[in-house]
């Protein structure tokens, strides 16, 4: 088994799509939110919307760590890298490289001479620190609980090896507060959730139980292949038909119900919850983000360096918050496709490849223009 091709088998996909059709109530309009940006991307990449009946609406949730990062944090990170008293190397995942700060994106800073490098792994950033003892290597960390354990383990290694020219600018955020913010939003009406598959490999399925219990909404933790997503929708529809609301694990081959103890231990060793953190588009949310513990202060960029602590508000016209919460579709934002496009993005939802606006603009926009022409004809 290769664990990929099997889950893209066209015959079984067709069968599963038929099962979905059999399970829906044609008179009902279903609204399912897929929380994770990776699911957004997969839905567009595989053209899954074309396989679903018209009365199932998939709403993209806020699970895109690039999209929810306030611009001020990028400015702060780049300010540290630009400080001239000591050469600092700014390292980050490729996802961050084109995200605009107030004075340009990391790549634009690179063009101006700042040492900016793309890394695939936080351990690669640590390796750069080992190989460049005359420079300080700062890792600009982003991501939900999927990625935080890797940053944690890297910091543990840095500490164990006594590597002093390395620090982490930590922007890790946690998924549950984001889901809570969605459910607390008065404009939001959802029937069920497609749960984030890879976050769940770390936190397990228990943290979602309150959604089923208190909010009476089914949540199915889903994998990322077409069959995974379609099967998850089948499972949701079966629950809805039976009037049930429970947490189910569709991604059993990878997600343990109890989560990954080693990963959670590493996170607990290195990180603690910030009392509050600003989420772009969602405002301040308490207990929703991570920072390094005092025992790791030496490896905390925010304590090693003078960080301006800039707060940048988005232009009033940008409706990133509503799109992030699924209240508005990307095309309904006044700036979409006009002032805000993938070439000159105003909000992060347009920069990140899995941001709803970018995905919609690249994969869907012209298709729908054609569909509407044909249906009007």
């Amino acid at each position: 088994m290769r664990f990929v091709d099997e889950f893209r088998d066209p015959e079984i996909i067709t069968k599963t799509a038929e099962e979905i059709r059999r399970l829906i109530d044609p008179a009902r309009h279903y609204r399912f939110m897929e929380v994770c940006g990776g699911h957004t991307h997969a839905i567009y990449r595989f053209g899954l919307k074309d396989l679903l009946p018209a009365n199932i609406e998939l709403i993209h949730g806020p699970g895109c760590p690039v999209c929810v990062l306030p611009m001020g944090r990028i400015d702060d990170g780049l300010a540290v890298a630009e400080s001239t008293d000591h050469p600092v190397m700014f390292t980050a995942f490729g996802d961050m490289m084109r995200v605009p700060g107030t004075h340009g994106s990391p790549l634009e800073h690179k063009a101006r001479g700042v040492d900016v490098r793309i890394v695939y792994s936080p351990s690669d950033a640590l390796k750069l620190a080992r190989c460049n003892p005359d420079k300080h290597v700062m890792f600009f960390a982003i991501g939900f609980e999927t990625t935080a354990p890797s940053t944690a383990l890297t910091l543990m290694r840095a500490k164990a090896e006594g590597i002093k020219n390395f620090s982490v600018f930590c922007n890790h955020v946690t998924i549950i507060p984001a889901i809570r913010a969605i459910l607390d939003s008065p404009d939001m009406r959802l029937d069920a959730f497609i749960g984030p598959g890879h976050v769940s490999t770390v936190i397990g399925c228990r943290p979602y139980e309150w959604i089923a219990r208190n909010e009476h909404k089914p949540i199915v933790v889903s994998g990322f292949e077409p069959l995974d997503l379609l099967q998850s929708i089948v499972m949701i529809l079966r629950q809805l038909r039976a009037g049930e609301a429970k947490v189910e694990n569709q991604y059993k081959r990878v997600v343990p119900w109890e989560g990954n103890r080693a990963a959670l231990r590493a996170m607990a060793e290195v990180f603690e919850l910030r009392p509050y953190f600003e989420w772009r588009g969602l405002g301040f949310i308490s207990q929703s983000a991570l920072r390094l513990r005092d025992s790791y202060a030496e490896w905390d960029s925010e304590r090693r360096f003078q960080v301006p602590g800039v707060r940048v508000t988005d232009p009033r016209a940008a409706q990133c918050g509503e799109v992030l919460k699924g209240v508005l579709k990307p095309a309904q934002c006044k700036l979409f496709g006009k002032e805000c496009t993938p070439e000159h993005p105003i909000g992060a939802l347009m920069v990140s490849t899995e941001g709803s606006c970018a995905a919609y603009h690249s994969y869907q926009l012209r298709k729908e223009a054609v569909t509407s022409i044909h249906s009007a004809a």
Partner: protein
Amino acid sequence: MAHGAGGKASRKLVEGLFVPLLSGAMPQALADAAHVDINGASFAITTDSFVVNPLRFPGGSIGELAVNGTMNDLAVSGACGKVMVVTFVLEEGLATPTLEAEVRAMAEAARRAGVSIVGGDTKVVEHGKADKMYITTTGIGHPLPGVKVDPASVRPGNKIILSGPIGDHGITILLARGELDFEADLSSDTRCILPLVEALAGAAAPGIRWMRDPTRGGVATSLNELARDSGLCMVLEEELVPTRDAVRGACELLGLDALHIANEGQFLAVVSSDHADAAVKALNAAAGGEDARIIGEVREQPAAAVLITTRYGGSRIIDMLVGDPLPRIC
């Protein structure tokens, strides 16, 4: 920097700046080569600059890219390159053996391609003002008889042919930089595609409507340009697009799309449906063309877009790149 990546930003630079200022003298500014008439004799001419880091990589080096790249631009414009001139811009302090190795590589590539390098120029700039070495090649050739390349001649129903697997060059370079710490048995596909274009012309010249070599920006960019220039829709079938395993693996790991990755030894051809099968047969029979195949067709809608259909009836739009493809973790 995004302007060199071959996608939307590049196009804006060319269309927004160069063409308006120079268009009196550049009637075909946006084609791969210009076909001109000088006192009754027809020529094709093209120029290209080559910048690559690292200079040497599995499967080739900057020198080979410079020769093959210009020959390929001429070939897909429907011309056979015969002579070339070369300009080097060298960074002060560049080691002589490095330069010598590239000159040898160029001589060998030129010999294989059947083109003569008849002149050139060299400039040395301060350390830090060039990425070790920039090479510009200008090639001149004669038009291939019976071959006419014009986006305006593309029609719904025409077939889209790809000469071979995509993504080899771009992924090889990405891995060769060493920053991502991946290993794969992969090398650049740099080669002169003139023999393949000649084979295609021999079997299907009257059916050829358009050709392009999908270098920076990949197949997605080339087909988007055609979609825009013709106003038509390019529809590809995902399973028909050939990619080597290692390219697929790297793209999966890094979150890249092979359609956006640069190629240096492949070309796309749009051929009328009555000639398409003969075209593919001739390519398959030619050395290096075994993997050539039809990957899609031209349709009317959605206009000016590139669409790819999946095996199970879904589809998505393939957009042009904005800047270089970047690895992602989300």
